[in-house]
């Protein structure tokens, strides 16, 4: 029999009561939308770009937040995330407050605000798109899949970061600290 190094066995995996064996899908509500593919996300991105070019940033942001692929796969989420960042970067700083007030009003306003907050945190956590694949060694974080490698704000990422931070400041004024707390608890990740 081969030598077994008992010290290297992760006993938590073998314990059904252990927290790593907690069924995370039990935290997903029944109202979760149907899974979407990356193709659908790409279609949304085109439509959003059209709205943005048509001079309707508020409509673009509203649309992109309403179509967030909460039940989609990683690829769909990535494509959608890029579309959201594009919209956020496409809105001038002077227009931010006005657009945000428009988006955070009407039916489903609090969902949209929470969704935007998720994208802001995801954007800040993700490596900048310019240096694409140069991400820090991937670590399994177990529970919190929204927290990824940290963006240290170098190069092209710095500008994106400052846009996100500006949006964050404005959004906290509108949606409060409760919105930040919900980013941490919500299992419907973006």
């Amino acid at each position: 029999m081969a030598q077994l190094n008992y010290r290297t066995i992760n006993i938590d995996v073998l314990d059904p009561d252990s927290s790593i064996n907690f069924p995370m899908d039990t935290l997903l509500p029944a109202t979760l939308p149907e899974p979407t593919s990356s193709n659908a996300a790409a279609t949304v991105a085109t439509q959003v770009r059209q709205l943005l070019r048509g001079g309707d940033p508020e409509g673009a942001l509203r649309y992109v937040l309403d179509t967030a692929p909460l039940g989609g796969d990683d690829r769909a989420k990535e494509v959608h995330q890029a579309a959201v960042i594009e919209v956020l970067q496409g809105i001038r700083q002077s227009e931010m407050s006005r657009v945000l007030e428009g988006v955070c009003a009407g039916q489903g306003a609090s969902e949209r605000a929470d969704c935007l907050m998720k994208y802001l945190y995801k954007g800040m956590a993700a490596a900048p798109s310019s240096s694409g694949s140069k991400s820090v060694s991937p670590q399994s974080t177990g529970g919190f899949s929204q927290i990824q490698a940290r963006n240290l704000g170098e190069g092209g990422g710095g500008q994106q970061m400052s846009v996100l931070l500006n949006w964050h400041e404005k959004l906290v004024e509108v949606a409060g600290t409760g919105s930040i707390v919900r980013v941490m608890t919500d299992r419907r990740t973006v």
Binding site: P29, T31, G178, T185
Partner: protein, 363 residues
Amino acid sequence: MAAPEAHHLFHNPIADHSFSTDKTTLAVARDSSVELYRRSGNKFSLTDELKGHEKTVTGVDIAPNSGRIVTCSQDRNAYVWEQTPSGWKPTLVLLRINRAATFVRWSPSEQKFAVGSGARVIAVCYFEEENDWWISKHLKKPIRSTITTLAWHPNSVLLAAGSTDSHARVFSSFIKGVDTRPEPSAWGERLPFNTICGEYLNDSAGWIHGLSFSPSGNALAFTGHDSSITVVYPSAPEQPPRAMLNITTRFLPFNSLIWKDENEIIAAGHDCEPYLLRGDESGWQLTGTIENKAGPGAGNAREESALHMFRQMDLKGQTQADTQLQTTHQNTISTVRVFEAANGAVRKFSTSGVDGRVVIWTI
């Protein structure tokens, strides 16, 4: 609204507090003991200490009629304390749990009490005359994580439990020979022990901090770490609820909530002050804070002379010492309880928190 009556008891967190029916005795959980305070004039003074637990006491509850006190602790034990001429006498209750006990409440009938625990069970305890001891029965299925809070239905059979698996559940804790058969309600008709009468998860899935049945028992409200409050109106047994309303707030999470009456809820937590919500089956809204901060805030503003300002800048590098919160509580509120109710509406409620204060509020 009259000014809140604040009692700063000590500089330790208060895990839980409970008043006796005549409101002269106050029990607070402090570290590994429970302290009993007696009202003299408008102050509370320490009269007794219930020592017996070895670890942090997590829950304390005084039965309104019998005056018995039940306590539970992280040492996995619960004690029932009875007053005798020679002092308070504890009786150990075997909970049969291998993790900390987190929460305890007497049922309205005072025949039973329920203990939540980290062992993913709720121990429902009742007294057995024949053997002269407390027996515990476990509610187990389908709890997946630690029970953080419990609330009894007025009929003493239904028990609501909130858990760190983000679900609020309603169980039947019917025990033959102790309980009388409850009236059929929207929660269920036949209710053997461990019947699941409802299991609720809200969209943003925060772990549950507090929950409560409405005075009639026909609605359940719960709050979690997602800074939201969810109100559930059940329709019929085995049916989806008639309405499940989620109110997301812009504040930090709430820890505890009570119903003021059928249409109003009081919730408090990490924002250190109580808030009022109003609504019915068609919708709920947060109406605002209960605390009137203009009063005490204006009183605190001291003389602001130029000399004072420069002295502060010299000493502390800032013009104003802003170490004090504007609120009565100076830290997180952990428990909200009904203090006085009349005709199904709460007139006064009490809160306790991490700052060692117990505050009585008049609405």
